[in-house]
């Protein structure tokens, strides 16, 4: 599996570097525009979330344990041509599957502003898996050209 990774500081401006990193990887591996765009979205939504809720607000919660932030994105291609994304951070435990689905039927007036980022991540990946290992959140996702799915959290193999 060809792979490439980048380490990011917990600052919103890093989005631009992340964007260029993804573009370069996708160009080099002949990734389609659809898959590249989904990957960009998944990474942005995750990164913004990590910056805002993981390390954001600066240090009150982290005051007890001043651990230097570590945020990494690793992209790879499987032999079957699927793009894999591995998102890791050492912020507080956060399992995206614990978040309820947003109510998309609500009228505009009652729609909360925000809260769609994690929903997008879950829906844009064909499958994903969350683990908390070594005090890190590790989210692994597969992004494929194929039809948009319910983003099931399935780890099994694809049907043959």
């Amino acid at each position: 599996m060809r792979a490439s990774s980048i380490e990011l500081k917990p600052e919103l401006d890093e989005l631009r570097r992340l964007e260029r990193f993804i573009r370069r990887f996708c160009d080099r591996n002949g990734v389609t525009e659809t898959v590249r765009n989904r990957t960009q979205l998944i990474c942005e939504e995750w990164f913004v979330n990590v910056v805002k809720h993981g390390f954001g607000g600066g240090g009150e919660e982290a005051a007890g344990a001043p651990v230097p932030p570590r945020i990494t994105v690793r992209l790879g291609m499987t032999r079957r041509g699927e793009l894999t994304v591995r998102l890791a951070d050492n912020g507080p435990p956060f399992n995206p599957d614990d978040l309820p689905e947003p109510d998309l039927a609500l009228p505009a007036e009652q729609r909360p502003i925000g809260g769609l980022g994690i929903h997008l991540i879950r829906r844009l990946a064909s499958r994903h898996r969350y683990e908390r290992t070594d005090d890190r959140n590790v989210l692994t996702l597969f992004v494929t050209e194929g039809g948009q799915t319910n983003g099931g959290n399935q780890e099994g193999e694809e049907p043959t």
């Binding site: 964007e19 942005e44 998309l104 039927a105 997008l120």
Partner: protein
């Protein structure tokens, strides 16, 4: 990202080019707030040159919908490409705002709601 606002009768056409993401969306938000303060309640977003839309951008579109509706107005989009449409669809936005095929259709639907 580039934002161009063009008046068209009571309506404002807002052309957004490039990337509407976590870095650029505050700029559009300021524009929406400004237009709302000016009393504009009919907004047409021209999105044929919008390359990328993340939840930060969706947030601003929702803000535009809320502000115009509160004033009895509406939001319409046109020139929406497949990439952008996928994001709008997954987020349930296609039922929140009018997605028109052309500028004329967008303006027409806004005029009817006025």
């Amino acid at each position: 990202m580039n934002i161009t606002v063009t008046p068209h009768g009571d309506c404002r056409i807002i052309r957004v080019e490039g990337r509407l993401d976590g870095i650029t969306s505050p700029e559009l938000e300021r524009e929406i707030v400004r237009l709302s303060e000016e009393g504009c309640r009919l907004l047409a977003f021209e999105l044929d040159a919008l390359e990328y839309l993340s939840s930060a951008g969706l947030r601003v579109l929702l803000l535009a919908v809320k502000k115009t509706r509160a004033a009895g107005g509406r939001v319409a989009l046109y020139g929406v490409g497949n990439t952008i449409r996928e994001v709008l669809e997954i987020s349930g936005f296609l039922s929140l705002l009018q997605v028109a095929g052309t500028r004329e259709e967008a303006l027409q639907s806004l005029a009817q709601s006025g």
